[in-house]
């Protein structure tokens, strides 16, 4: 086909102003209402219709490194039933218009009426950024003067409108992607840590972003590749794609393919159709890096559709570039949320583990022979479950706690040594020598420590002393396979190490306590036996001495002074015998044995003799300068009448003697100690009433406790051990009786109640 070249565009514009206004309105209206994804095509459609064409193609300088850049399709419109044969390659008319920046009309177009549509004209165009472009019109007839003028008029505003359409498309793309990612953030926040941050959720949300990009930029496939921190270098797994499917995609590898080159160089790249894949005939492709600071964390890659525009423009790359920061930010937030979620789960797991450990520890500590190995395994299980990338643990005990059979021969006492107590999960963990060497370094430093790639091996080691309050029991070592030490490995080890230390400390303390308790019990037994022996050795001679003095007093005739001395001696013997008996009762009670009474029936006369004898002794032994009188009110006792009480005579003597001792000790000068009796529903009560140091009524029951002494008594006289009433209480209870203390101001009555037989 011949061509008309060099026609002046402005030369044929008269008389078309009215039509131009109408079509301009249509054009701007189309820009305003069109969908962002198809805006440019619609715009070209208006232009084509204004020109009376059945198709139009808008070209722009391609986004390749070729110099000069060739034309590439930016948009296209075809009437129904019209297709373009090879739109990827510009026709000569278009090429000439693009290269020479001149209008080129197809010659002889009028003769082609009835033939398939062909290029009838190509108009040069200059975009606002200075790049060249062209508009190709297709039809089956040449352009008329009016149509030509109209097309030229509309072409004047086309660059500005193109910018407008593209900006609207970019804005819409960014807004839709941002909305998706924002919704994803909101969903994650609503579901709480760990609720919506699984890999599936990430793929779903980013897949929707891919779909939106694909729709807007008319891509055949959009993919997002992301690399996790700590993942192998240079490999970026496929995380999401606009094309459905559950099969894992092929990861991008740094330096390989367009995406690999983008990852490697860290800047966006676009490749025209046929150049994307190493000599293959793949469609156009573009990719932008996902930059987090100066690190490339991934890439977004797009492949073009087999239809127009067949390639990616600078505008497409810019639009994709605007999405990249949003995806990067979402990925960064997702990783952060996942880290928090993992950490939360980790602490929850740790808390549950520690609770279970404590339960096990308390069970084991309650046993006579705790199973330490079980405790070690439980501790190591916690570290393994909770610690990230932890594949196993070793527990080493310090040599100071090593059983003798394991102690290293010739080991210096000054040198700190360790012995392997337990390993988990057994063989196949860390190198034993490296682990032991590392544990020794932790023991020497006394602080937790970690190291990566010990002794040239892969993996990490983290160790913490097993200790409590500076007492070191050993070292806990955890190990894993990663090249770096996980962030919280030391913290977890430290917590579990402390817990283990606490268990061992408690175990050792309990063991010592048990040993001490055993020794104490042995000592108490020995003391009780000694007291029993004392009672035995004292009791016999005192009994004999008392009886002989009694006999001497009954049958002999002495002057008053000698008689008084003998009575005093008898009183002292009886008092000493009571002290000896108190020692024996104390010994029995210390061993947990109860006093055993030898019951007999006591009449009122028996009781009177016993009480008078006790009162006489108390009188003889009391300090005459203090003028304390001991008086038995016989009538008060005789109310027992013919009734009998069942009691152990020696126990009664002991009880009455102790009460009179207390009365002598705490009575004021020149007062009387009354010994009288009463009968009530509970039985017969011997009552000893004295006036002296007051007893607080609140302390009445406390008086019967072992070693208890009232504050006034303790600070005033100081003497006494607090055993007298405690012994009386036990003796009375052994006889089914009771002792009660009834204080009223400075008068105190102590009642010994016996059941009446």
């Amino acid at each position: 086909m011949d061509r008309l070249v060099g026609a002046t565009v402005r030369g044929a514009r008269e008389g078309c102003c009215d039509d131009s206004a109408v079509w301009l309105r249509r054009l701007t209206h189309e820009v305003a209402r069109s969908e962002p994804s198809g805006g440019l095509d619609s715009l070209i459609g208006v232009l084509a219709r204004a020109a009376g064409s059945c198709g139009a193609i808008l070209w722009e300088a391609s986004e390749t490194e070729l110099d000069p850049a060739g034309p590439a399709i930016a948009g296209a419109w075809f009437a129904d039933g019209v297709t373009i044969v090879d739109p990827a390659c510009p026709d000569p008319i278009t090429m000439e218009a693009f290269t020479d920046h001149t209008l080129v009309m197809a010659a002889g177009a009028r003769d082609r009426r009835g033939s398939p549509p062909a290029v009838i004209a190509a108009l040069p165009l200059e975009y606002l950024d200075g790049r060249r472009g062209a508009l190709t019109l297709l039809g089956d007839d040449e352009l008329t003067g009016n149509s030509f003028d109209l097309t030229v008029d509309l072409l004047d505003v086309l660059p500005a409108l193109c910018v407008l359409v593209r900006e609207r498309r970019c804005l819409a793309l960014v807004r839709r992607c941002s909305d998706i990612l924002q919704d994803a953030e909101v969903e994650s926040a609503r579901q709480g840590p760990g609720g919506g941050d699984s890999g599936d959720h990430l793929g779903d949300h980013l897949g929707r972003v891919c779909t939106v990009i694909g729709d807007t930029l008319r891509c055949g496939k959009v993919s997002i590749f992301l690399r996790e921190p700590g993942a192998p270098d240079g490999v970026f797994p496929l995380v999401a794609s606009s094309v459905g499917g559950t099969a894992p995609g092929v990861p991008a590898r740094s330096g390989i393919g367009l995406v690999g080159r983008v990852i490697e160089c860290g800047r966006p790249l676009v490749a025209p159709a046929g150049l994307a894949g190493e000599g293959s005939c793949r469609g156009a492709e573009m990719a932008v890096p996902l930059l987090d600071g100066d690190q490339v964390s991934g890439a977004i890659a797009c492949r073009g559709l087999p239809g127009p525009p067949f390639h990616f423009t600078r505008s497409d790359l810019s639009a994709l570039g605007l999405i990249a920061p949003h995806v990067t930010r979402y990925w960064r937030n997702w990783l952060h949320r996942r880290a928090i979620s993992v950490e939360n789960r980790s602490w929850l797991l740790l808390a549950a583990g520690i609770t279970a450990f404590n339960k096990l520890a308390s069970e084991q500590l309650a046993r006579t022979d705790p199973d330490d190995q079980r405790i070690y395994r439980a501790a190591m299980q916690i570290v393994r479950d909770v610690g990230p990338d932890c594949v196993g643990c070793d527990v080493y005990r310090s040599d100071a706690h090593r059983p003798d059979r394991h102690r290293a021969r010739g080991a210096s006492s000054a040198e700190q040594r360790l012995w392997p107590a337990e390993s988990f999960p057994g063989a196949g963990g860390a190198e034993p020598e490296a682990s032991m060497e590392f544990a020794l370094s932790v023991l020497r430093s006394g602080r937790p420590g970690a190291m990566a790639s010990p002794a040239g091996a892969a993996g990490w080691l983290a160790g913490t002393p097993i200790q409590v309050s500076g007492q070191v029991y050993g070292v806990l070592v955890a190990f894993g396979r990663c090249s770096t030490v996980p962030s919280n490995a030391l913290q977890v080890g430290e917590i579990v190490g402390d817990q283990l230390g606490l268990y061992l400390h408690l175990r050792q303390t309990l063991q010592r306590l048990q040993e001490t308790r055993g020794k104490l019990q042995a000592t108490l037994r020995s003391q009780a036996e000694a007291l029993e022996d004392l009672e035995h050795q004292l009791g016999g001679p005192l009994l004999v001495a008392t009886e002989r003095v009694d006999l001497t007093l009954q049958h002999g005739r002495f002057d008053g002074r000698t008689d008084a001395q003998l009575r005093a001696v008898r009183g002292l013997c009886r008092k000493a015998a009571r002290v000896a008996m108190s020692a024996a009762v104390f010994a029995a009670l210390s061993k947990g044995a109860a006093p055993r009474p030898r019951f007999e029936l006591l009449s009122v006369d028996d009781l009177l003799r016993l009480l008078i004898s006790g009162a006489d002794d108390a009188q003889l032994l009391s300090n005459p300068r203090r003028r304390i009188r001991f008086e038995v009110e016989r009538e008060g006792i005789r109310i027992l009448n013919r009734r009998l009480i069942q009691a152990d005579r020696s126990f009664v003597e002991q009880c009455v003697g102790n009460l009179l001792d207390n009365a002598a000790k705490y009575s004021y000068e020149d007062t009387a100690v009354r010994i009288h009796g009463s009968v009530d529903d509970e039985g017969f009560a011997v009552r000893v009433t004295s006036t002296g140091l007051p007893v607080d009524p609140a302390d009445a029951k406390l008086c019967l406790r072992r070693n208890w002494r009232g504050s006034v008594a303790r600070t005033t006289t100081g003497e006494g051990s607090g055993l007298g009433l405690w012994i009386v209480d036990h003796l009375m209870r052994s006889m089914k009786g009771a002792v009660r203390v009834q204080p009223v101001q400075d008068t105190t009555t102590v009642l010994l109640t016996f059941p009446i037989a």
Binding site: S667, E669, G692, T715, T717, G718
Partner: protein, 159 residues
């Protein structure tokens, strides 16, 4: 000059016997018996002008006899208690510049070994004599400190 012997003993049964024995051993001596820690403290100021030649001190000693008008004991007595009251009295003596060199004989039923930790920090002019029916040993110890007895009995008794 008559020797002045002070006996601090709260058991009236022992006190009378001890006083008799001492008076027999030291007929010319003036013997004063104090029966509570409170009495000893009250007499301490007088001892500066009427200095004892020796003090025979019981170790377990009550603070006072019960009385409706009794005052509360000082803090050191309330916290220190009755078991080692004799040492507390001796310390007051040794802290007094005028009395610090008065010899003290601890006369007690307690074993010497039980007293060891408490006597270690006291003056070198202290002696321990265990109570027994043989009063000659105590008399010899007193004689070592105050010289032989020369005068007729002259006991002063308090309490």
């Amino acid at each position: 000059m008559k020797p002045f012997i002070v006996v601090v003993e709260d058991d009236h049964l022992q006190e009378a016997l001890l006083e008799d024995q001492l008076q027999r051993a030291f007929p010319a001596a003036r013997i004063e018996t104090l029966v509570t820690e409170q009495e000893f403290r009250e007499r301490l100021a007088d001892f500066r002008t009427d200095r004892p030649d020796v003090i025979i001190m019981d170790v377990m000693l009550r603070w006072a006899f019960p009385s409706p008008t009794a005052t509360a004991p000082p803090a050191d007595v309330a916290s220190g208690g009755y078991q080692r009251a004799g040492f507390r009295c001796a310390e007051l003596l040794f802290q007094d510049p005028a009395l610090h060199d008065v010899p003290v004989i601890y006369y007690t039923i307690l074993e010497g070994g039980d007293l060891e930790p408490d006597t270690r920090r006291l003056s070198s002019r202290t002696t321990y004599v265990r109570k027994s029916k043989d009063h000659d040993y105590l008399a010899r110890k007193v004689r070592d400190l105050v010289g032989p007895a020369t005068s007729a009995p002259s006991a002063a008794k308090r309490g």
